[in-house]
Symmetry: C2
Subunit: 425 residues, 2 copies
């Protein structure tokens, strides 16, 4: 289930949202059944884009940061979910080793780590921080903006186990997206739980593989609700390795942009949507917002090569994806909801906001801000005759559903890409 948070969305409930709200018990049961067969990622954050007629995930982070942008009131939900997660993995555990990424000199990032430490401490674990950074040779105290500090210690590897000095954890929780590669110290740990698994790192993950799984999930879910999966699923295409410097290097990208725009145009016509479609071209590996290019028209293609070469330096694999406009505003700035989950539970969310970006642009990157979503204060009085639980609509519910669909897709994705999985033919 999904906490009732105050959303920017206050207009009338549209058809898609109405259908999702009405189907709540069936949706929750469907998730229950899916989680009987599939293991949820340990923690997940999902960026959504809401165009009103369409709501879709655009980014699924399996090493989420920014936990500090959840309000303190959401902490108990996170702790409760963390307890459920630990009970399944290591109920007897005393110790949790948290491996942050190497941005330990970033006070904002460390404030998120601090929040994670709080969550797992309150869930009943001794939490210590270990760094794979060779520069960390002894305990290092890191000052936090609130005046407190956290200590990072060097990781100690024995043959089979990873720990710190005098600290042997049952579970190692990684908060580094491994975009720079997988440290050898984390490999071949078979006696302890390493979460998320290494193949959740960006050295292995591909966005297109995630959206392939998401398409499967969206189709199943749309069947449950009797609706067109396109309403929650952004179409995409891939091009394998792209050589930005060669003359015909972008042919595949151009062809796919054109084909995708045609498909989207057809869908818009089908639904009477009076908007100009666009697609985004982004790197298929790595996860950062850098290098996301918005293309609205095949006529823009001639200068695409130059723009790609400028903005997407070093990108070799690309994904071309249907763009979903964001029609939510917080203080007149473009806003994207971000949904946070621990284990199978939605534990909170916030808006990613950017005042200088348009409806069709990425809101990540410099100039972006975060606006916490507070719990909704006064539940509206239920109207007589309304079904219980439905009459005070939880506008955040729909985000929680789509966020969990993306999380379920990540679970499918992790199963499909697991290098240790046994194959039965």
């Amino acid at each position: 289930m999904v906490p009732h948070l105050t959303t920017a969305l206050t207009g009338p409930i549209n058809e898609l949202e109405q259908r999702v709200l009405e189907s709540m018990p069936a949706i929750e049961r469907w998730f229950r059944l899916e989680w009987m067969e599939h293991t949820p990622p340990f923690y997940t954050s999902v960026d959504l884009r809401n165009a009103g007629f369409k709501l879709a995930p655009v980014s699924t982070d399996l090493f989420p940061g920014s936990f500090n942008h959840l309000t303190p009131q959401m902490l108990p939900l996170a702790v409760q979910a963390a307890m459920a997660a630990i009970e399944k993995i290591c109920p007897e555990a005393r110790n949790l080793l948290l491996v942050p990424d190497n941005a330990t000199d970033d006070p904002f990032y460390m404030t998120s780590v601090q929040r994670l430490v709080q969550v797992f401490t309150q869930a009943g674990l001794n939490v210590r921080l270990g760094s794979a950074d060779p520069a960390v040779t002894g305990p290092r105290a890191l000052a936090l903006p609130d005046g407190s500090e956290l200590t990072v210690e060097p990781l100690l590897r024995t043959r089979g186990r990873l720990g710190l000095k005098d600290f042997d954890p049952c579970t190692i929780l990684v908060n580094d997206d491994l975009v720079a590669g997988t440290p050898a110290v984390l490999e071949n740990l078979h006696e302890q739980y390493l979460l998320p698994p290494l193949h959740a790192g960006w050295t292995v993950r591909r966005k297109s593989r995630h959206f392939q799984s998401y398409e499967d999930v969206a189709k199943k879910f749309a069947k449950l609700l009797g609706m067109d999966p396109w309403l929650i699923n952004p179409m995409y295409a891939t091009c394998g390795e792209v050589d930005f410097s060669s003359p015909g290097g972008l042919d595949c990208v151009q062809a796919n942009v054109d084909a995708l725009l045609t498909k989207v145009r057809r869908k818009y016509k089908e639904y009477g949507i009076n908007e100009r479609p666009f697609v985004v071209v982004k790197s298929d590996d790595g996860h950062h917002g850098a290098g996301i290019i918005t293309v609205r028209d095949a006529r823009e293609l001639p200068d695409l090569q130059q723009r790609c070469a400028d903005k997407a330096a070093g990108v070799t694999e690309v994904i071309i994806q249907e763009g979903v406009a964001t029609y939510e505003r917080v203080h007149e700035a473009m806003a994207e909801p971000v949904v946070y989950m621990i284990d199978r539970y939605v534990v909170g969310g916030f808006y990613r906001v950017h005042a200088e970006r348009g409806v069709d642009e990425s809101l990540s990157g410099p100039g972006g801000r975060f606006v916490p979503l507070a719990f909704a204060d006064g539940h509206q009085l239920p109207r007589p005759g309304d079904k219980p639980g439905v009459s005070a609509p939880n506008r955040f519910y729909m985000y929680g559903v789509i966020g969990r669909l993306a999380m379920l897709a990540a679970s499918y994705e992790m199963e499909a890409t697991d290098p240790d999985a046994e194959t039965y033919d």
Copy 2:
């Protein structure tokens, strides 16, 4: 874990509380291990009394009402806990049948039922209400104070199953404490989950049996923390059946009152507590506050018989229990914290408040009020060098721990009194 709620308690943290707060990870791990061996009750509310030097449960309700006194902000925690409970019992379930008690004409009680309906609807179940009252012969709409309504339908029993017209539930959740007896329609249901089990009803339960289990739990927990179990455990004695009208009928009660007061006096002396001890005499069956008698001195015993005969009419079994004063105040009125749990999780709480009662009297009954506990708003800034998660002390945490100890005791109690349990000698 325990939500951070604003407590009436704002004074300095005493020794007991300090020890509980410092031991949080060890305590949470201990609960995890206990729940691997024991099944938590489906839902539980526990009334506590806080004397500062001593904190103890005084009443453990396995059919809790008053869910409407939890703030709306606690709903997501309740729903998340309900999801966890359902996943274990009936993950494929579509339907939940809720059996309220027969007080369906009490708008306050029905508002609590409405809250339960919301919780389980949002957890993904179709919830309908069934009544064992023979007067309910068809669907009956019940108006709620907020203008909405709930419908109660007659229970339909086939040989093996219980349901409503066109409604076959996997789980039947009873919210009737069965103090008036167990309706035949609820008996011998072996194909469905009936929760709580019938022997959790007051036709079977005895307070003394609960406190016998609580004593075991308190001893184990006190060993973990290296403290005297008396600090969380109220001593008690029983008298079996008492005949209030016979001349020597109260001899056993008088002897136990005297012995218990002596024991408490000794403990107070040991801890240098400068208070006058008292004991309470109450019915061992039934659960209501009526008939709770406070005795401060053996010299009061001569008129005890008259007072018992007046106040505890019909009581045959009595428990004599060490009294725990409540030193918490809300707006200068005596206040008792009440902790709510679903499955193994603390989902909220409130204060039971009574302006006209003394520190040594029951706060239940006419004139009592409820004061919701809000989530603590501004977490204090952590002090530099403080352990994470500890520096902004959650004063509600201690209540959540003692509440869960009483819940664990109820779990032991249900195992010990299960009529269907197989006995291994």
